[in-house]
Symmetry: C2
């Protein structure tokens, strides 16, 4: 696992030297696409400073991710470089939309891809001071943005948007639902952003009530996962409904259905049901339920 | 519990009418101070629109919190009104710094105070579009801020900063630590913000390693609490250390000590140890451990 080496972020001389060091490696994005190595397990291509400088990439804009086995890792976005110029990176791996990855991704590789993507996205979107409107500049190797207006001088820190995702079951059935934007056949469990002033558990109960009109008898934490689309933190829960009658809101959720394990199995096999990608905590929550046949009253996954 | 009535936020006519309705109530802040009712249990004074208009408060800037038993609740900040002019509110209750409350606060009252404070703080701090620098305007009764530059038009949503707080125990002792900014005698458990690309559990392990150099054998979720200073979401964990040897970082933490229950009891009684305020999840985690005498190997609070 990456050592984030927080104390080095403010050591500008160390950071500048490490960016040019031959042993250092860069996670390279082009907007929402990332360069992945061709071989398994799934992970980013570790591109060298030299390869990036040959492309004309500005290493000053690279963000520090941490160190692993003595190697410093950075993140950089090359979207500003013409795709034809990027062909030398393309030979190192394949360019893939991060969100389109369907296979499982190991926790450490996912953490690295997510850290890079969410830090890049935040730095790209937070260019002006929200307090006074003046331009901001990057500090601490990408973990602080500082207002350049001396009268304001506000410091801003990376954003992580907490969201809940919840597997709702009733007896031997699990609630699977569709959002209007989903591709045909895709069903998942319910999710939504935590609002100001809410606990995670309040957010679970509110989202389930809003989207499908259900009250919950029991809510249990299962685990969490960074979800860099662009800067979310997904917190997973397993809940039991107090009753089975659903009222779909028709806006955030267009349809929802209680499915038994055998219905999920049959429809998945004949292609009429697509579950969320194997990299997601949504899928992990669904799979944990699928594998627990015969233990409908078990409360924990 | 407040029904946040999300669907009403975009109904500008309903919101405008509710703000002037005689039955509606306002949670009133003046910066980081809030007006609390004099009687127990602790809760905000529910100020009327009429009382606020008599002060010259601009109700257009009030934010919608939700409805409870048919009463619409809003949040407003009166810091721009001279304190002498505010005396009519002072007769309704007492003005208190939210952070200075030491007593326990019920979950629903805390949720209301936190929702109001964090929404007000976010709207006050995010006045310009972080993407292009143009002024933003309030939408959706305070839950959206929209860029007024037609070429940009970015929408921005309230910020909630996830942070972890963790009670670390080893055999029959709990680790209590001091930050340099704490008042004399105050000790608490360890806490820190979740970084981009981290799960909650990753953040727990990183913060504990950074601040006191400990590895953890076991990490378990306990619960969560909105922490509006100004916009945090505190997620609480209980962890067992893999060993007892600590190395205080001397920066975020100035000292840390393993304390038995009897040491905590004795020092609290003689005034040499002050625990975090009763409203905090920090205190809830510590109290749960204090009350569990004799079950040193129990992993859950």
């Amino acid at each position: 696992m990456m050592d984030r080496s927080e104390s080095l972020r403010t050591d500008a001389r160390w950071i500048a030297a490490a960016k040019r060091d031959a042993s250092s490696r860069f996670v390279v994005y082009a907007g929402t696409d990332v360069y992945l190595r061709d071989s398994l397990p799934i992970g980013p291509v570790g591109v060298t400073a030299r390869a990036l400088e040959e492309l004309g990439a500005n290493l000053d804009l690279a963000l520090f991710l941490g160190r692993e086995n003595g190697v410093a890792w950075f993140a950089i976005d090359v979207a500003a470089i013409a795709p034809s110029e990027r062909s030398s990176i393309e030979t190192l791996g394949r360019r893939v939309a991060l969100g389109a990855i369907q296979d499982p991704v190991g926790e450490d590789a996912w953490a690295l891809l997510a850290q890079a993507r969410s830090l890049l996205a935040w730095n790209a979107r937070y260019r002006h001071c929200p307090t006074c409107g003046a331009p901001m500049e990057m500090r601490s190797a990408g973990y602080v943005r500082a207002c350049t207006n001396a009268e304001c001088g506000a410091l801003h820190f990376p954003r992580s948007d907490p969201a809940i995702i919840v597997r709702v079951t009733y007896e031997d059935r699990c609630l699977l639902a569709r959002q209007p934007a989903y591709r045909p056949g895709l069903y998942s469990i319910l999710a939504g952003f935590v609002e100001p002033g809410e606990s995670l558990e309040d957010a679970v109960r509110r989202e389930v009530a809003e989207e499908v009109g259900l009250c919950l008898a029991h809510v249990a934490y299962v685990g969490s996962q960074p979800w860099p689309f662009p800067t979310s933190l997904m917190v997973g829960f397993a809940a039991e409904a107090a009753c089975a009658e659903i009222h779909v809101d028709g806006r955030e959720i267009e349809s929802a259905e209680w499915m038994t394990r055998s219905v999920v199995g049959t429809r998945s096999e004949n292609g009429t049901l697509i579950l969320p990608s194997a990299k997601s905590i949504a899928r992990r929550l669904i799979d944990a339920w699928l594998l627990r046949a015969g233990s409908a009253t078990d409360r924990h996954s």
